[in-house]
């Protein structure tokens, strides 16, 4: 639901960076979105498309790089990958932070090492 607001923020950052580098037209925007960020990628792509439509940036490629969930077990300290998928509230097809540790089976108290990202990492313009 809030993906349009997030797309607006992304575009604003991109426009600032373009201006700083003497460009006006955005041709590619790459963002990293973590599995736990609460962002539905399809909605983000749709929101972004709506924003650039009819502007100078129309046709710009939005490259969404999913960042998978990485956890450190709260009991035995094992570092492991969370359930795959992205775009769900707690990681599609899994319980996100409450995933069972493959080492000891603990589900509670894991530390999130990776998966909360939401950042602009690359853009191309002319």
């Amino acid at each position: 639901m809030h993906e349009l607001a997030i797309a607006e923020n992304m575009l604003k950052i991109a426009e600032e960076e373009l201006a700083r580098h003497g460009c006006t037209k955005l041709t590619l925007l790459r963002v990293e979105v973590g599995a736990l960020s609460g962002v539905v990628c399809e909605s983000l792509a749709f929101g972004f498309e709506c924003l650039v439509k009819g502007t100078l940036h129309e046709g710009c490629t939005l490259d969404i790089v999913p960042i998978p969930l990485k956890l450190r077990c709260g009991a035995c300290g094992l570092v492991f990958d969370g359930p795959g998928g992205i775009g769900g509230i707690a990681g599609a097809g899994g319980m996100g932070e409450l995933s069972p540790c493959p080492g000891c089976g603990e589900v509670l108290g894991h530390e999130v090492l990776q998966g909360r990202e939401m950042r602009v990492v690359w853009l191309e313009g002319e």
Binding site: I6, G74, L98, M118
Partner: protein
């Protein structure tokens, strides 16, 4: 031209949240987040009435459409300002900054921000608050902390409302609490009935301590 950057997408919101934080310095500012119907407004009405003599309070009400909640809050005699998000699913720090222009913060001890009823989107946006308070009710699923981990991870307190209905619903308090604390080890959980008044004293105790800590500059 290729431009490598690393910029947080919500940095503009975070920057504005810092401005809000300056404006509300010394005032305990709480961001109340729950699903629709969990009882945010009822809890607020009750709190404003019961603590009205003890603290000076103010309320920012976020709503999709109506000003029903703002009117309910204003009926308690407390200063309230309405933000109509016109369908928007969350409040952001810029909206709070605008709302602050319409509030007299002189002598205010506690500023409550009642977010739009939604457990997902509001959680992402820092409003310049001291603490998010997650409100859950026993008429919802007891797996809410599992399903919406970010809120329960970030919240500094959780209120479990409508406990007077526990005999009539299938809600496992122990399970919900265990999952919430798995996400947030020391999370204080207050079991209350905002309509009947049960359990509110512990919630008020937490508020008193938080006001004290805020005034002491902690």
């Amino acid at each position: 031209m290729q431009i490598p950057v690393v910029r947080n997408v919500l940095e503009a919101n975070e920057k504005m949240a810092g401005v809000v934080r300056e404006r509300v310095k010394g005032i305990l500012t709480l961001n109340l987040i729950s699903s629709p119907g969990a009882g945010k407004t009822t809890l607020l009405e009750r709190t404003l009435t019961d603590l009205g003599k003890e603290f000076k309070m103010a309320v920012i009400e976020g709503d999709l459409q109506t000003d029903n909640d703002a009117r309910r809050v204003a009926a308690t005699g407390v200063q309230a300002v309405q933000i109509d998000t016109e369908g928007g699913c969350h409040l952001d720090s810029n909206l709070i900054l605008n709302a602050l222009d319409n509030l007299d913060l002189t002598g205010v001890d506690i500023l409550f921000i009642e977010n739009v009823g939604n457990l997902v989107c509001p959680t992402e946006f820092d409003l310049g608050e001291d603490a998010k308070v997650g409100i859950l009710s026993v008429t919802e699923g007891d797996d809410k902390p599992e399903k919406y981990p970010l809120l329960f991870n970030l919240a500094k307190a959780m209120v479990l409302n409508k406990t007077d209905l526990l005999p009539y619903v299938q809600f496992d308090v122990e399970k919900a609490s265990r999952h919430a604390r798995a996400l947030n080890k020391d999370l204080p959980i207050f079991q209350v009935s905002a309509t009947k008044g049960d359990g509110l004293e512990a919630w008020y105790g937490w508020l008193r301590e938080a006001v004290k800590a805020k005034k002491a500059g902690k």
